[in-house]
């Protein structure tokens, strides 16, 4: 007789709640240990949840679409004869409360900012609503739920998750919006009950034209219309970022060290490597990853984190590579970069980024980084500084490679330059340490053949 409590697992470092995307097993199914029970959306990714016991899935306590805090009882695996009534009864209704298995995974002491189950399910409902009747592919993309409000409207529904889910709009308004690229979430409807109807979309579409006309030297006052503000509920990812960043920038005293890197040779080498037949495509960011990994090995003080009254020095370079998503960013971890050749880094980094965008990362790919790299080069960013992702001790911010005038021994020429800025935790390291690390990264990139050996 073995009754196994199925609890919301902690699938990533930052995870506080998880939402059941779908149950892959249904009540009554026989379960073997290791079977995939369900898909869970965490703050970072969609991950599969394994069964830790065998038996029959007797009860599902948290249905698909609802969220539960980690540790909460979400299901029961037992043999058909086992009495699970007391266990089931002990679970809070809807499974949203802390489960009886709290002792297994200690819940954090601070008040959990877990959204009520209703908010999650409302957000879930928003998706079918936008694609239910419209075959227009553009409008079928899942969107975060939104509340639109204008000053004229009583803000009764603001902030209430259950009202956040749907954009009320006529079918015609939806189609015209999809075809003209008007965002329905930004429009105040004038139809019954605030329903967005055709003229609202057309007015919004002509808003741009009104704005353009206003730019001309006319005396007439500009008609300002449209919504005053909108409340977009935090996605899981955004909520995690919002929660965690103050834990970084607030308590962690950042300092920044910047350096300009001559990328001419790396550029040339990259082109040469990519011209080789049958080789994986390599990006300059792969060079940066490899260079950072090698520099981290040489400067373990940067590959470090504060652990209470100790500093943990890492001897392996697990590098988190920030990937921009539509609704936030995610930092999958490329393990043991110091030990991987450039080609392998290139292949793995591309695979991680690809799967990150499709939310197909495994839980272990989301934790354990010792250092991170954030590259905004593709946005033509000259330079920027990043916020450290605790418990890591440093993060490297990479700008774009720009052609610019440079002076060398022969005079004025054109060179490719890139700005690197490393943000360091001053509690763990000092300026000189960060500078030496950066100097090495710079040297490796400027003499990129070193990256190949």
């Amino acid at each position: 007789m073995a009754v196994t409590k199925v609890v919301m697992p902690k699938l990533s470092d930052a995870m506080e709640t998880g939402k059941i995307i779908k149950w892959l097993k249904k009540e009554g199914d026989r379960i073997n240990g290791g079977d995939i029970l369900a898909e869970v959306e965490t703050d970072k990714a969609d991950v599969e949840m394994e069964a830790f016991g065998a038996g029959v899935l007797r009860k599902i306590l948290v249905p698909a679409g609802e969220a539960a805090p980690i540790g909460a009882l979400i299901g029961v695996i037992a043999e058909p004869g086992d009495d699970i009534a007391a266990l089931v009864a002990s679970a809070p209704a809807g499974g949203a409360g802390a489960g009886s298995a709290a002792q297994k995974t200690p819940l954090r002491a601070e008040p959990a900012p877990a959204p009520p189950a209703g908010a999650a399910s409302a957000a879930q409902q928003a998706r079918p609503a936008s694609s239910a009747t419209s075959p227009a592919p553009a409008s079928a993309a899942p969107r975060p739920a939104v509340i639109v409000s204008a000053p004229a409207v009583a803000p009764a529904g603001l902030g209430q998750g259950n009202q956040a889910g749907r954009v009320k709009a006529s079918p015609l308004a939806k189609k015209i919006a999809a075809q003209t690229g008007v965002d329905l979430r930004l429009i105040q409807g004038s139809g019954p009950g605030g329903r967005i109807i055709r003229r609202d979309v057309e007015a919004a579409g002509s808003g741009a034209r009104v704005g353009a006309a206003a730019a001309m030297p006319a005396v007439a006052p500009v008609a300002v219309f449209g919504v005053e503000f909108e409340d977009v509920p935090l996605t899981q990812v955004r909520a995690a970022i919002a929660r965690r960043m103050p834990l970084s920038k607030g308590p962690i005293p950042h300092f920044y060290v910047s350096s300009e890197v001559a990328m001419d040779r790396a550029w040339e080498l990259r082109d040469q490597l990519n011209a080789l037949e049958g080789r994986p495509k390599i990006s300059l960011n792969d060079f940066v990853i490899r260079a950072s990994a090698l520099a981290l090995l040489k400067h373990p003080g940067v590959n470090a984190s504060l652990q209470g009254d100790a500093i943990r020095i890492h001897h392996r370079a697990h590098i988190g590579v920030a990937v921009a998503l539509d609704d936030g960013l995610i930092t999958p971890v490329l393990r043991d970069c110091h030990a991987k050749p450039l080609a392998q880094i290139a292949v793995e980094a591309r695979d991680l980024a690809e799967r990150a965008r499709h939310r197909k990362l495994r839980a272990q790919e989301l934790s354990g980084a010792t250092f991170s790299i954030s590259n905004l080069g593709m946005f033509d960013v000259a330079e920027f500084s990043a916020i450290i992702n605790p418990p890591e001790g440093a993060i490297l911010a990479v700008g774009s490679v720009r052609r610019m005038p440079v002076v060398d021994d022969t005079g004025l020429g054109v060179g490719r330059r890139m700005m690197l800025t490393v943000s360091c935790d001053h509690r763990v390291m000092d300026g000189a340490m960060g500078a030496r690390f950066l100097q090495d990264v710079k040297r490796l990139l400027e003499e990129p053949l070193r990256l190949l050996v």
């Binding site: 009747t133 419209s134 006529s170 079918p171 015609l172 308004a173 189609k175 055709r198």
Partner: protein, 460 residues
């Protein structure tokens, strides 16, 4: 002269006026109505309702004429036109009494007599019992319209009749020329022809029911011609003079000798004799100029219905009456959507339409999709033995917006509302096709025509 005080005085109790009065009363206003005929106006007494009774008679006569098609042998049958007219009078009386009942129920005071504006907020009623003065916060005018004639032609309601005479006159003509092939013209042409008259329709424009979609006109002309009705379009009536069997209609070259002439060239707003000029109420092209809440150029004076402009339709008047009432009661009513007023003609086959004709939809180079479905392919229509006509859907191709719908055929006037609701909700073709239509119904033709506009019709 007694003076009474009300919140609202409504002059005219046609469909606009009585609906407006009732809505005012519902909203807690104290309402008086003024009527110099019977409550219900032209619509209930001399227009919509009695003509529908006559058309029903025409339909029954036609059906009996086709009894053999259903395997029913009648040893001949007799029809009595006077009794048809009497029946239509009874129907009208009953409906008019209904309005009186509704007034009592809603505690609306009816002042029989002629109402004239004496001041912005004062209406003088001159009736059989003398003169009374009504004071009100707001006045709603709904005096309606009357038949127009051609220049130089006097309507005597004996040989040259209007719709007013046509619904009253119990003598059925042997031959009649109907001048004007709009809704009134073709409806009476149907009635007279069904009772055996030689009917000639004369229309100045190139086609019958000229405001409808061209294909509708073609279909109606085809079925009317088959039923023995003569149609002359693009003709100009030069004169209408007594002579011959009754009247001689000169078409400039051709002369038409008929027993009677029905003048159905349109209706004009009744804006004279109400005191509008004295109050400074602005008139534009023969109609009272109104705001979206039906207020005239003079604050506190509202105008609704036929006098407030086209389309001259009872249901449009009712909608305007509600808007005026709600505006007066301090609500902010949704203005009437004049682009979404269904238009119905009750001849056989019936015609109903809403929105733009195909030609209008194509003006300006819009990418238009058209779907048609004939009733010959509708199981229900075939079972009924009513297979004339079709449903035509005109849509905007990129968005599927339903631009216009044109139906000719059995119960067309009942079927149009699916599209009226759809258009109000801004449904597109897809919402219609995803709406399951019961089988077998005539409304399936609406579904199929919609499918056809998307190139997906199943049953054709």
């Amino acid at each position: 002269m007694a003076t009474h005080t009300f919140d609202v005085v409504v002059i005219g109790t046609g469909p606009g006026g009585y609906v407006s009065a009732i809505r005012c009363a519902q909203l807690g206003l104290k309402v008086a109505t003024v009527e110099d005929d019977r409550p219900g106006g032209v619509c209930l007494n001399w227009g919509c309702i009695p003509t529908k009774a006559l058309l029903r008679n025409a339909e029954v006569v036609n059906l009996l004429g086709h009894a053999a098609d259903f395997g029913i042998k009648l040893g001949g049958f007799e029809v009595s036109y006077p009794e048809a007219v009497q029946r239509s009078r009874r129907v009208a009386d009953r409906m008019a009494k209904g309005v009186e009942f509704l007034f009592r129920k809603n505690k609306i005071t009816l002042f029989p007599g002629r109402g004239t504006l004496k001041a912005r907020n004062v209406v003088e009623v001159t009736g059989a019992g003398g003169t009374e003065s009504l004071e009100a916060r707001a006045v709603i005018l709904g005096t309606g319209s009357e038949p127009k004639s051609l220049p130089g032609v006097t309507i005597d309601e004996k040989v040259v009749i209007s719709s007013n005479g046509a619904v009253r006159n119990e003598r059925h003509p042997e031959s009649i020329a109907v001048i004007g092939a709009g809704a009134v013209g073709v409806e009476f042409a149907d009635v007279f022809a069904s009772y055996g008259a030689q009917v000639t329709i004369l229309e100045a424009l190139p086609r019958v029911v000229p405001v409808e979609d061209e294909e509708i006109s073609k279909e109606l002309a085809r079925t009317f011609t088959r039923r023995g009705i003569t149609i002359k379009t693009g003709v100009k009536v030069v004169s209408v003079k007594p002579g011959g069997a009754g009247v001689v209609v000169d078409l400039g070259g051709e002369k038409l000798e008929v027993e009677r002439v029905l003048m159905a060239v349109g209706r004009g707003a009744k804006v004279a004799g109400v005191g509008l000029e004295a109050q400074g109420v602005q008139i534009e092209r023969g109609f009272v100029k109104v705001s979206p809440t039906m207020e005239t150029s003079v604050k506190g004076i509202y105008a609704i219905g036929d006098m407030a402009g086209p389309p001259l339709l009872a249901h449009k008047a009712m909608a305007e009456g509600v808007v005026a009432a709600e505006a007066i009661a301090g609500k902010s009513p949704r203005p009437v959507d004049y682009g979404n007023v269904p238009s119905c003609t009750y001849c056989r086959p019936q015609i109903a339409s809403i929105g733009l004709t195909e030609a209008r939809a194509r003006e300006g180079g819009r990418d238009v999709a058209v779907g048609r479905f004939p009733f010959t392919a509708s199981g229900k229509a075939v079972a009924l033995g009513e297979t004339e006509g079709f449903v035509k859907v005109v849509a905007d191709k990129p968005t599927g917006e339903i631009l216009g719908v044109h139906i000719i055929g059995p119960e067309a006037t009942e079927m149009i509302h699916e599209f009226a609701v759809g258009r109000t909700l801004e449904a597109t073709l897809e919402e219609i096709i995803h709406t399951i239509h019961a089988h077998p119904t005539l409304s399936e033709a609406a579904l199929e025509a919609t499918l056809a506009a998307l190139g997906q019709a199943i049953h054709i």
